[in-house]
Symmetry: C2
DNA sequence: TATAATTATGTTACCGGTATCATAAAAATA
DNA sequence: TATTTTTATGATACCGGTAACATAATTATA
């Protein structure tokens, strides 16, 4: 591995001159530039990033800290981030927190030590506050993604939980449903709080009484089983919900699997809708009615926002971008597969 | 951001002593160590990685260069790699080549400049030879993943295409199929070559004549449409295949969608099997018979192998690990949904 | 007790770049 | 032509660590 000094010697100039040629800074004579370029070529030289970072304080590395790369939502986020980063000349370190605060803390520590230039983070929940405080203390630029930690003001890219929930619930009501259960994520995650609020508002607006016994909380992650479904199913006909709103895709899958195990059919017996779509590119028979979020854009715009911040274009303004979901109506919410199934 | 000198001053020792405390190298007096540790704590100090890398020549960063993070196969590879890397104290830079040799070259260049300690690469095809030569020239440890570039000897982790294909084709034959089409990936990718060979062998072994007009090639990636299906469908009854073996999951989806568009039912009219599974965690109604590969292990073991190499435990031995697939029989290959559908 | 070995710590140089200041030569201006 | 400005290049120091060698203080051994 040749260094700038090897090049300098071969081109018969000082290291500084080589540096100038590489960075196209300052004035260099035409003949000298040619000689240096030739030497660079011949020695197959490229600059050492560690050395550069040591003076410049920049690594050109971003971190994408998400909760689960196995969720197609985050896969698409990653893809968007990756694409934009390449465009802007950055590289992306990927980390999975698994919705686990300890793992998140551990990664944050590693990222600080790596001196990444900025962090795109989907916080595991409100407990992430300390981790985010650490970022602020160390002046690491960051953008919150998909979720907002209570009490933290920062650049952030969110989905429109309010609107998506509203549209899903309205759709169910239009289908004639009056008892709609909410199976939510943990209330220490902002999306869950917003979805709950929007759910309650939507019911209220339609004059449907809110019933505490139809509101549940569980984890956003993949798991087997869902006991609360047993409870739902055990309710007498007049109390049992006719539809379920799941706060994300994984929850919906767990709900449906649990219902099926009990012999309850979806949508004939109970309809089901959820937030976040599945992997359309690989799904032969899409089934669930969803509020699909523009996941790719979360990543793409997130990196743009982050780099703006890093490079100082938007130094201190706090920006909040809210991306609207798209409602895709499919079989899971239609009692009869009729022409309402637009998608 | 405090430096080792700040700590040294505060603890009233030399920088070297602080370095020794941090790295637990050499002898340090108990009292001194305590003082240094206290100073580190108080100043919230942690070592600067760029500075460290400059002397140590190690960044503790690995690169995972895959062809498409959107493919659930690679998502799981990434997850496995990530988990093992965390365990071993490395971070992972993720890059997508999109099965595109230029993009791959560009990334390789970036990775060289970043001085990553090693690369886990799923080569885009035999054209990747030059890129891999570059790695060899620069003495960057690497492990090939999922595919092997013709003429390159290196550590590598592969799926058992031979065995998987054999089992899928045998399964189809057992179901009574005699005309089985192969819809393969590009022949400049090693997995496609192996699957083709295994396909031919399996037919031969069962005494089924190989027919050139039933063998096709297309891309491994997501795309709309697949014209060759029009051709297949246009064949007279006696020449038309009764089953299709798709060389990966994306191809299978394209095949089935194209068939459905033509009004051909799967499996009633044409059966279908493929390599690589779908996202089981999120699939409510798994349909395709597949040779599922242990994708997570590809990543997990790949990182282990790579780090072994980096840290010199396995300096020059070339290891080849071949991971067996698991055949999962589902509806797509059964003419009648009967008790053969074990899964 | 004299000498050798060990322990605890410091000094210096270097990793490979770049910022800053200095300087000689060439070009522009008075 | 003398002076100022600009252009082209180099010397030096520094970024924040660590390797290698040096040295003073202890401890072990002869």
């Amino acid at each position: 591995m040749s260094t700038i000094y090897d090049v300098a010697k071969r081109a018969n100039v000082s290291a500084m001159t080589v540096s100038r040629v590489i960075n196209q800074k300052g004035n260099i004579g035409e003949a000298t530039r040619k000689r240096v370029e030739k030497a660079i070529e011949e020695l197959n030289y490229f600059p050492n990033k560690s050395a550069r970072s040591l003076t410049s304080k920049a690594t050109n590395i971003l971190s994408l800290l998400i909760t689960d790369i196995n969720n197609p939502f985050f896969t698409k986020v990653a893809r968007g981030a990756e694409d934009k980063a390449l465009q802007l000349g950055y590289q992306v370190i990927l980390s999975n927190s698994d919705e686990n605060i300890e793992k998140e803390s551990r990664y944050i520590q590693m990222l600080l030590e790596s001196q990444v230039d900025g962090i795109l983070i989907a916080p595991s929940g409100d407990e992430s506050k300390n981790n985010i405080r650490t970022l602020i203390k160390h002046k690491i630029p960051f953008v919150q993604l998909d979720r907002e930690v209570e009490g933290i003001e920062s650049d952030v890219i969110l989905g429109d939980s309010q609107k998506g929930t509203r549209m899903l619930i309205d759709h169910l009501i239009n289908q004639g449903h009056k008892r709609i259960a909410l199976i939510n994520g943990p209330s220490y995650i902002s999306t869950a709080r917003e979805r709950r609020n929007a759910y309650m508002e939507a019911l209220k607006y339609s004059g449907i009484p809110m019933e505490e016994h139809l509101m549940f909380e569980t984890d956003y992650i993949q798991k087997d089983g869902l006991e609360l479904v047993d409870y739902l199913v055990s309710l007498p006909k007049g109390k049992r919900p006719t539809a379920v709103f799941a706060a994300n895709n994984f929850i919906a899958v767990r709900v449906i699997k649990a219902l099926r195990k009990k012999g309850i059919r979806v949508p004939e017996d109970i309809a089901c809708v959820c937030f976040d779509d599945f992997d359309q590119d690989i799904d032969l028979d899409p089934f669930l009615t969803v509020a699909a979020q523009p996941a790719y854009d979360f990543g793409f715009m997130g990196v743009q926002m982050l780099v703006d911040k890093i490079e100082g274009n938007m130094a201190d303004k706090k920006r909040k971008i809210i991306l609207p979901p798209e409602i895709i109506v499919r079989k899971s919410s239609l009692a009869t597969t009729n022409d309402l199934a637009t998608h």
